[in-house]
Symmetry: C2
Subunit: 288 residues, 2 copies
């Protein structure tokens, strides 16, 4: 049982965690913290949180668990604000999509990485944001990656792992660097392609007409281009190195594909498409 959970950033991710823990009867009190008063009021009205404050230092007072779910660019400021106000036994975790930058921000704010901070990342979300988009089932059967460091307190790790399992998630441990590479490949690069495609079309002269003829496949393909631009700017900056490496890898692939089209090399195109279809069909089977 979590006696007092502080959620810094009550949006889709933070709000859904609170709802899931409440639904499981695993938390006694939830304190919400954020910058926008109307959002906090909404969160209280929805019953997602019990009370709120706009001051992170106030929010974490006597909390046994703190969940930081703010955009990556705001992590450092939150760590600075709460540093002096934590109990020695308070466990901190976060929901940031890049772990290297969170570890750096926390190390800088605290002087060294606190042993009771467990960096984490729930692989879940939708293209919607805000507490009104949150729901208790968001994490059910989804994966949560935790990236403990050598000095991470095993008890803190166990508490965070139990918290996510209570929400129905499957927890995996991996290194910070490996997490950031895997996510660059499966999430950050696809978002760049979707944003890049829609922007390229939007900048064409006939863009209104072009979007009119986009069919269902296009809508699925570009859904993630409706994601929050500020969040994605932060992710790009925070995971610059791994994302740049993936972009370069994808650039090589696309140069090969474009060359094959230019020289009408049907055999090579068929080979690429067949390999991709096989991998995609296999990955879907695995995930069921």
């Amino acid at each position: 049982m979590i006696e007092r959970l502080a959620i810094i950033g009550v949006g889709l991710i933070g709000g859904s965690l609170a709802r899931a823990l409440r639904a499981a009867g695993a938390v006694r009190e939830v304190v919400g913290c954020g910058r926008a008063l109307p959002n906090l009021e909404k969160a209280r009205a929805f019953g997602v949180i019990d009370r709120f404050t706009q001051d992170p230092a106030e929010a974490v007072r006597n909390a046994d668990l703190v969940f930081v779910a703010v955009p990556l660019g705001a992590m450092r400021g939150v760590f600075d604000a709460i540093r002096e106000h934590l109990q020695p036994e308070t466990v901190i975790t976060d929901g940031g999509s890049v772990k290297g930058s969170v570890v750096l921000d926390a190390s800088a704010a605290f002087g060294a990485l606190p042993p009771r901070l467990v960096p984490g990342h729930p692989i879940a979300g939708t293209e919607h944001s805000g507490v009104e988009a949150s729901f208790a089932e968001l994490y059910r059967n989804r994966r949560v990656i935790l990236t403990p460091l050598p000095d991470t307190d095993p008890d803190a790790l166990a508490r965070v792992q139990t918290m996510w399992e209570t929400c129905g998630a499957e927890v995996t441990l991996m290194s910070v660097a490996h997490h950031d590479e895997v996510l660059a490949a499966t999430s950050h690069l696809p978002h760049m392609l979707a944003f890049g495609l829609v922007d390229a079309l939007a900048r064409m002269r006939e863009n209104d007409e072009i979007f009119r003829y986009a069919a269902g496949g296009f809508r699925d393909f570009t859904r993630i281009a409706s994601s929050n631009p500020v969040m994605w700017r932060d992710i790009c900056l925070a995971n610059r190195e791994a994302l740049s490496a993936m972009l370069a890898r994808f650039g090589v692939e696309m140069t090969d594909l474009a060359e094959s089209i230019r020289r009408a090399d049907g055999d090579h195109l068929l080979e690429i498409f067949a390999r991709a279809k096989a991998a995609r069909d296999r990955s879907i089977e695995q995930s069921h």
Copy 2:
């Protein structure tokens, strides 16, 4: 009323047209034609067609309407095979995703483009194929583009337009070249990105692990990479010019994006992402 409809290629596209016209009571007899006997037998068992033949010349005999729904690479062969066996009043149309190549193939096969051939393209489909994937509602509220040429018979055009409207589709007319540019942007380029992304990941050493951490957004984004590889090879070869131009345009966009990430230019990234989100959200509103 269509007295006898010949469908060359009884898959998702051809099968769904037959089902929709039957459901509307707008066709008396449907003759199916294809190369694979088991597929034709299935189509007859499902009631999609009344009878079948593997010989296109036989299939079009005394048909008042012929719908050619084979991969683009097979169009020329079908036109050659039916050339000598059409009634003077028979109307021909097709479902090819590229119109320039169909017009070239027909012109070469017939000596000149037949006035009663109306090139067409229903903007509908799923990542599944085969007659077992066909359904009567596939074209309901979807767009069908017809690309008549200066010599196209207005009566033939009207008959094809009515046929599609009977299936619940909205028909638009445009030029062959414009169709091929619009489709390169909204369909062919996105498919290249999805195939290219999945193939790039499949070729990474840790590919099994990587696909394991792909979340819902990735599955939506890559759904179209499960499409038929042969069909897509043909589309690439048939629409080489317009697709190469779109790939180059996208390459410029991605170079700009990758450069902005490398030099940590958050303002420029935010500008790109916000413009893309606005265009995507607007395009979704329009389509509802």
